[in-house]
């Protein structure tokens, strides 16, 4: 659980994004509030891939949207280039100022077909960002840039550019979405479940393209998925979320080989082919996610946690270091 705290934040000038005490709440009926994201903090180093993993409803996508200020978070700060002279507080910007920063952060969504306008041709879809930013980048050759990104994601611009989205398969549409996101030369690419809607045989193609693009364009990726094996494969650092809180943060290999939070262990034990580092019996927890309108007191995971005690109900655990670049918010971390 699901706890607060900022111990996991790193002191470094190589950070490209820092999210601090981010809270996102939505009104729901009279005097009721959905606590979608509650006081989470993490940072992303330039060139790394940060994976965010958790069950549906844990606030992964809300976090991604809050980073791009769509909509603005209820409270908390999102900093670009933290600790440098060029530091920008996204949460403090509005209107034209915010708009000017947007090209630096781009997003890819889960359903590749519905995220492309069916009436437009691929060339226009990919070029849209560029044509909007025409005035700011007068020296960019739009045609050439579109051809370049399309080629980079493995599509032939000669054939693909004049077609419409319905003429492509799901995997190819996801390539077009990636090309559209890359056209503006972003620094950060947020991928919200980019391979969940794709067939298993196509999933690896898209993951490999993202890895190639990351290298080629020096991108920083935030990769959101519910699939643990995919997240481990693409990420350098992983954040495990539960009901709007961060449970565990750490280097990808460390977190998956020495999971310390009971929830992470449950996830690993529930995978179709469970991980060897946990016992399969650890997957035995209730199915019901508590309501985000009335989250449990103390540790939010306590209602389903095998290790819960009175302490978990009364006191919220705070992020604590358990290893080199490995942080956990739990009163009783480690293996059972």
């Amino acid at each position: 659980m699901a706890g607060s705290g900022t111990a996991q934040l790193r002191e470094s000038d190589k950070m490209v994004l820092r999210v601090e005490n981010l809270v996102m709440e939505f009104p729901a009926g009279i005097h009721q509030v959905v606590h979608a994201v509650s006081d989470i903090s993490f940072d992303v180093q330039r060139g790394e891939t940060l994976g965010i993993v958790g069950e549906s409803g844990c606030g992964k996508s809300t976090t991604a949207r809050a980073i791009v200020q769509l909509p603005k978070p209820t409270s908390g700060t999102v900093l670009l280039d933290p600790g440098t002279d060029a530091e920008i507080e996204l949460t403090a910007k509005e209107g034209e100022e915010l708009r000017a920063i947007r090209p630096r952060i781009q997003m890819i969504f889960q359903d590749p077909i519905s995220s492309l306008n069916p009436r437009r041709r691929v060339r226009d879809i990919v070029a849209e960002g560029l044509s909007i930013w025409r005035e700011e980048h007068p020296d960019v050759d739009v045609e050439a840039q579109v051809d370049e990104v399309l080629t980079a994601v493995g599509l032939d611009p000669e054939v693909a550019a004049s077609r419409r989205p319905h003429q492509f398969s799901g995997g190819q549409c996801q390539r077009i979405s990636i090309a559209r996101a890359l056209a503006l030369n972003p620094e950060i690419l947020i991928c919200d479940e980019p391979v969940s809607a794709l067939d298993v045989s196509v999933q690896a193609q898209i993951i490999n393209i993202l890895e190639e693009m990351k290298e080629r364009y020096g991108l920083t990726l935030i990769f959101i998925s519910h699939d643990l094996s995919v997240v481990r494969n693409v990420s350098d650092r992983v954040v495990v979320m539960y009901l709007g809180k961060v449970c565990e943060v750490g280097d990808s290999n460390t977190l998956f080989s020495e999971p310390a939070h009971p929830y992470t262990r449950v996830l690993l034990a529930s995978a179709p082919e469970p991980s060897a580092v946990v016992d399969e019996s650890e997957s035995a927890i209730g199915d019901e996610l508590p309501s985000p309108m009335d989250p449990p007191s103390g540790c939010r995971f306590r209602t389903r946690c095998p290790r819960t005690t009175g302490l978990c109900a009364s006191e919220e655990p705070v992020m604590a270091k358990v290893g080199l670049d490995h942080f956990v918010a739990c009163h009783f971390p480690g293996s059972p």
Binding site: E55, S229, R232, D236, P272, D287
Partner: protein, 366 residues
């Protein structure tokens, strides 16, 4: 086409379900879509068959054919025998107390397989009343017992709720309870956990396993994830583009896989114990259109072991071991397979025109 798979034939007991040379086609504007193209399998009572394949491989159409749920314009060929009875003949005679009683199905999306405006209890009781002629109160009692068996907490209270009041996992449990109501002998589960979270997925699959064991049920588990069937099925059939590529008992399939498609499916999925940034071996291209299918093997366009004959001759389903059949000219782990792969690597391109560069880069770095 090698008429009948060798599988199941060696069994002493007669199979509960026997599917032979099943063909299903749909006439479309573009031409006849061959959704299922000559699929055969036998299933012994009490066993679980896993059917694995990507979308469009014909796994769901096979299931729907068994359940007699295809639209009337579908063109079906071949034979289906259940416990010695001809299922396709029953379909035309309209035996309404067969489906839903002896053979039932659980679908992928629990929300769309439940009626949103009827209480959960009524929906479970419905099949008991229609098929088994139970009275209203008997059926209601039994529905409560069923909910208890599938692990729904407070079953009596849930009976009065509507589907939207339940979580995804609970809804799928209700659907399972419905399908179990008339004590079926065969349960077909079509991607029963794809729409669910990973923690819930495990519980639902475990539940199906327990119920199968308790009731001595036979089960067909359809999925796109080899990992899901690995620990749960006795036999696995791998389908691609409407055809059976390989079928074997589960241990054999994973220890001695023969078909390059099975191998590719396994290599392309990241595993949880793999280190970060392990390069995945992609399956290039995409599945073929099922209209005007070309000669030869349908996987040849995406296959690393493709040889010249793969482009012209459709490989028959041949026995390649005890309880193991495979349709491939150049199977993995054989001399022919190794030779074909070596020749392709040498040439840098397969006879189907596939660039071997993508594979070799990955193989070398691995």
């Amino acid at each position: 086409m090698c008429a009948k798979s060798g599988l199941g034939k060696a069994d002493m007991a007669a199979p509960l379900l026997s599917v032979s040379n099943l063909h299903v086609g749909f006439a479309t504007e573009k031409g006849l879509v061959r959704a299922v193209d000559g699929v055969s399998f036998d299933l012994t009572e009490g066993q679980t068959l896993g059917i694995v394949g990507e979308s469009g491989s014909g796994k769901s159409v096979t299931a729907k054919t068994l359940m007699n749920l295809l639209p009337s314009y579908a063109r079906v060929g071949g034979s289906i025998t259940f416990d010695g009875r001809d299922v396709r003949a029953m379909a035309t005679e309209g035996e309404r107390h067969f489906w839903g009683v002896a053979m039932t199905m659980v679908f992928q999306d629990p929300m769309t397989s439940l009626n949103p405006v009827k209480r959960v209890g009524e929906q479970i009781a419905e099949s008991l009343r229609v098929h088994l002629k139970r009275t209203r109160s008997e059926a209601k009692d039994e529905a409560g017992d069923l909910l208890q068996q599938v692990g729904v907490p407070e079953p009596r209270k849930r009976l009065r709720q509507y589907p939207h009041e339940l979580s995804g996992g609970l809804r799928q449990r209700v659907v399972i309870a419905m399908s179990l109501a008339c004590s079926p002998r065969l349960l077909i589960a079509d991607e029963p956990t794809t729409a669910l979270d990973v923690t819930v997925q495990k519980h639902i699959l475990d539940l199906l396993d327990e119920l199968r064991e308790e009731r001595g049920m036979t089960m067909i588990l359809i999925t796109h994830d080899l990992g899901v069937v690995r620990g749960r099925a006795d036999q696995i059939m791998v389908m691609y583009a409407g055809r059976t590529m390989e079928q074997a008992d589960t241990a054999t399939l994973f220890s001695q896989m023969r078909h390059p498609y099975t191998e590719a499916l396994l290599e392309t999925i990241p595993r949880i114990d793999m280190a970060s940034h392990t390069r995945l071996i992609p399956i290039p291209g995409m599945p073929p259109e099922l209209v005007d299918v070309p000669d030869g093997c349908l996987f040849s366009q995406r296959c690393r072991s493709c040889s010249d004959s793969c482009l012209t001759d459709q490989p028959p389903l041949e026995v390649c071991g005890p309880m193991h059949v495979c349709a491939c000219h150049t199977p993995v782990g054989t001399e022919a397979g190794a030779a074909a792969r070596a020749a392709n690597r040498e040439a840098g391109v397969t006879p189907a025109g596939l660039d071997m560069g993508t594979f070799t880069a990955v193989e070398e770095s691995a």
